[in-house]
């Protein structure tokens, strides 16, 4: 929250004044209240979870992360620009593949990649939108200097936390909201609904939309149920849908009802056992045929995983230049592809400075954070890298910005990142704010909830 010279950054000035007026123990009280509120809200969501009916909650911090209007302008334009380029890229590689022919991205990187789905080749999707919902992970490393860590283009989750966090903050600190002009986030489901309606199959003016969930054993089930309820659409499982006569139907008490748009929270591999994983019981047999015939829209489309592949990530700036003719607004983290012998040699020499990630890894697993690693961990990673260099990439350790965070009753600095959600239907927009994740361990750069991360409300101040 402090600038380079140690002064309080503009966005935080009003908040800091307020904070000075609040006795520290009151903040701790609010923290406990938040926990209770969350459990209660959590329980209303947690129709699943452990047998005691209470789910494990992701720790929530009561100190908001605040962005001033200029910062948000940069971030929102930047993430929207990336998503526009990614949609153009997906349309291209599943059709003409101009970018490969032009040699801007190595062909093998795309074509010889399991995330590139031949099932999507030649498939025309409404408005040429493939990634309807993206969650782009961004970090701030200096004034107005942002880096993108990942463009999550498959089935990004966490948006319900963005809304819950805001709901909780408004209950706990109503006075703060009257002092600050904070951009609202709770219309997200409305925007999502509008987005999904905009990509209905051609000629359908009043589409039936559903949210497809793997079921109540899935860890994100409450989010699926939440979004379905907020949008006023059915939450379905694979078994509720069937294919007949070139159409997807849902089984209702009134008989079969046609479905036009499926906001699916199931990975490609599981959506149609006749086309992908034959043992999947989560999907709908025949779905791919209807999608390819343009009679149902899947959001996100099949095959978007190629765009957030860790190796393809390095080329997003090239996509922006190639398709949009623009300069990237947000920086890419320089990435060493270890399949490249020169890069590999450099990385092995500089393991203590770099972050090494497994290409197929997710959730902060399969990752070596050089500056915080032991010699033992580094030597174990060296062995793994030498065994299959193509499975790894490496990036310099970024100096992530920090945000004050309440730990054991004390305000301390912790590293944060930000996941704004970018929706693409008729247009591409980012809902102001997003999910701020915070590394709760001192000095840690890993913000994933599975690895001791928490969340904060994210405020975008209106100018």
């Amino acid at each position: 929250m402090n600038g380079d010279g140690g002064e309080v950054r503009r966005a935080y000035q009003a908040y800091c004044e307020w904070l000075r007026s609040v006795p520290p123990e009151r903040l701790s009280e609010k923290h406990q209240q938040a926990d209770i509120l969350f459990r209660r809200l959590g329980i209303t969501f947690a129709v699943h979870g452990d047998d005691d009916g209470v789910e494990r909650l992701i720790p929530f911090d009561v100190v908001p992360r605040i962005l001033d209007p200029d910062e948000w302008r940069t971030v929102s334009h930047g993430v929207s620009q990336r998503v526009r380029a990614i949609n153009a890229f997906l349309d291209d590689i599943y059709h003409e593949q101009e970018i490969l022919k032009a040699g801007r991205i190595p062909s093998t990187l795309v074509l010889n990649n399991p995330a590139f789905r031949p099932e999507a080749l030649g498939l025309d999707v409404p408005r040429r939108v493939y990634v309807h919902v993206a969650g782009v992970d961004v970090v701030r490393v200096g004034p107005d200097e942002f880096y993108v860590l990942e463009d999550n283009c498959r089935v990004p989750s966490g948006v319900s936390y963005m809304m819950e966090n805001r709901e909780t903050m408004m209950r706990l600190f109503p006075d703060l909201f009257s002092q600050h002009r904070v951009a609202p986030v709770n219309h997200y489901p409305e925007v999502l609904l509008r987005t999904l309606r905009a990509v209905a199959p051609p000629g359908v003016s009043d589409p039936t939309i559903v949210v497809l969930t793997p079921g109540h054993f899935n860890s994100a089930y409450f989010e699926h149920a939440f979004l379905a309820r907020e949008m006023g659409v059915e939450l379905v499982e694979g078994q509720d849908l069937f294919v007949d006569d070139n159409t997807v139907f849902m089984r209702t008490t009134e008989g079969p009802q046609r479905v036009h748009v499926i906001y699916r929270r199931i990975d490609d591999d599981f959506i149609d056992p006749l086309a992908f994983n034959a043992y999947s019981t989560l999907g709908v047999p025949g779905l791919l045929s209807v999608a390819r015939n343009g009679r149902v829209t899947l959001a996100n489309a099949v095959g978007t995983g190629i765009a957030d592949d860790k190796a393809v990530y390095a080329y997003v700036p090239d996509m922006i230049a190639f398709y949009l003719g623009e300069k990237p607004i947000l920086n890419n983290v320089p990435t060493y592809a270890l399949r490249n012998p020169d890069d590999c040699a450099y990385v092995l020499d500089h393991l203590e400075e770099l972050v090494v990630k497994e290409v197929a890894g997710a959730g902060g697993y399969g990752m070596l954070v050089g500056p915080f690693s032991t010699a033992e961990q580094r030597s174990a990673f060296r062995t793994k890298i030498l065994a299959s260099p193509e499975s790894f990439i490496a990036q310099p350790t970024l100096k992530l910005s920090t945000c004050p965070t309440l730990i054991n009753g004390e305000l301390v600095s912790r590293h944060v990142d930000l996941r704004p959600y970018v929706l693409t239907g008729e247009t591409t927009t980012a809902v102001p704010g997003g999910l701020t994740r915070v590394a709760l361990r001192d000095g840690s750069l890993v913000v994933n909830s599975s690895q001791g991360g928490g969340t904060k409300d994210t405020w975008v101040l209106e100018g």
Binding site: L100, N112, L121, G122, L123, D245, A278, R292, N293
Partner: protein
């Protein structure tokens, strides 16, 4: 050749099934080696056509309500040309895609060892000759044995066992191509054969599978390791994919029905 094809597949279920759905890849691809004069696919259920990602002409067949069998009937006439087994390089499918490993074509040490001597001579002999060497090596090493393997068998397993069916030969050929660094793909189709006296492996069996390898500047070259030949005008191409799973003629799923029994009758006649 003018080939007349009749292909019937009957599935009989142990008990009535409530709902069954199938993807059928049973229509010849339009290409330079074959011209489809007439073609019909019929099933008792509702049938809709679609095109899969590999450009295969597919159908989806749905049968609702209790039923104890599903019959898939295919009839048609195809005019085939002998292109010495070569098809043009540009068919809308990027060749590099076919360097990918699948469950069926995964490399193991056995395959690498098997291909190593062929790979060694590759730069002297050139690509086309090398591919022939690979095809013959597979034919000599993995005996054709009808009904010897199940549909889930992999290339590595076929090599270890030393026997297999056309599907195994094709998978092993594709895996071998990857050792050589050449893209290769799986083809399912029909094979016309004069009969036992022709001495061809698989004579009389008209449903067939083989492989195609991509040779720069030449195109897709077909290799039928079961018979040790490149495709001629006796071959009809139905579908291409990375492996059996993507190209198989019928892939289905059903609710209820218990165990099933499948009978297939195929007849390919030359006018």
């Amino acid at each position: 050749m003018k080939l007349t094809i009749a292909h019937e597949t009957h599935y009989r279920f142990e008990e009535p099934a409530r709902h069954s759905i199938q993807y059928l890849r049973l229509t010849p691809r339009p290409d330079h080696a074959q011209l489809v004069r007439s073609w019909t696919v019929s099933t008792p259920g509702k049938l809709r056509s679609w095109t899969d990602g590999f450009g295969n002409l597919a159908h989806v067949s749905v049968q609702d309500g209790l039923h104890e069998e599903v019959a898939v009937l295919v009839r048609g006439e195809v005019e085939t040309m002998d292109t010495t087994g070569v098809l043009p390089p540009h068919d809308g499918l990027p060749p590099l895609m076919f360097l990918r490993e699948t469950r069926y074509t995964r490399l193991d040490d056995g395959i690498r060892e098997f291909v190593a001597p062929i790979a060694e001579r590759a730069s002297d002999e050139g690509q086309v000759a090398t591919l022939h060497n690979l095809m013959w090596a597979i034919r000599d090493r993995v005996a054709y044995q009808s009904g010897s393997t199940h549909v889930h068998g992999t290339a590595g397993e076929a090599l270890t066992h030393g026997y297999g069916v056309c599907q195994d030969h094709a998978h092993l050929f594709i895996a071998g191509c990857r050792v050589l660094g050449l893209p290769a793909r799986y083809v399912s189709g029909y094979l016309f054969s004069e009969g036992e006296e022709a001495g061809e492996v698989g004579a009389g069996v008209a449903s067939h599978a083989w492989a195609e390898a991509y040779v720069e500047d030449l195109g897709w070259v077909s290799f039928d390791a079961s018979n040790g030949v490149c495709a001629t005008d006796a071959y009809v191409r139905l579908a291409v994919a990375m492996d059996y799973e993507g190209a198989c003629p019928v892939r289905g799923i059903r609710r209820g029905g218990g165990l099933e029994e499948m009978t297939v009758r195929v007849q390919v006649l030359n006018e």
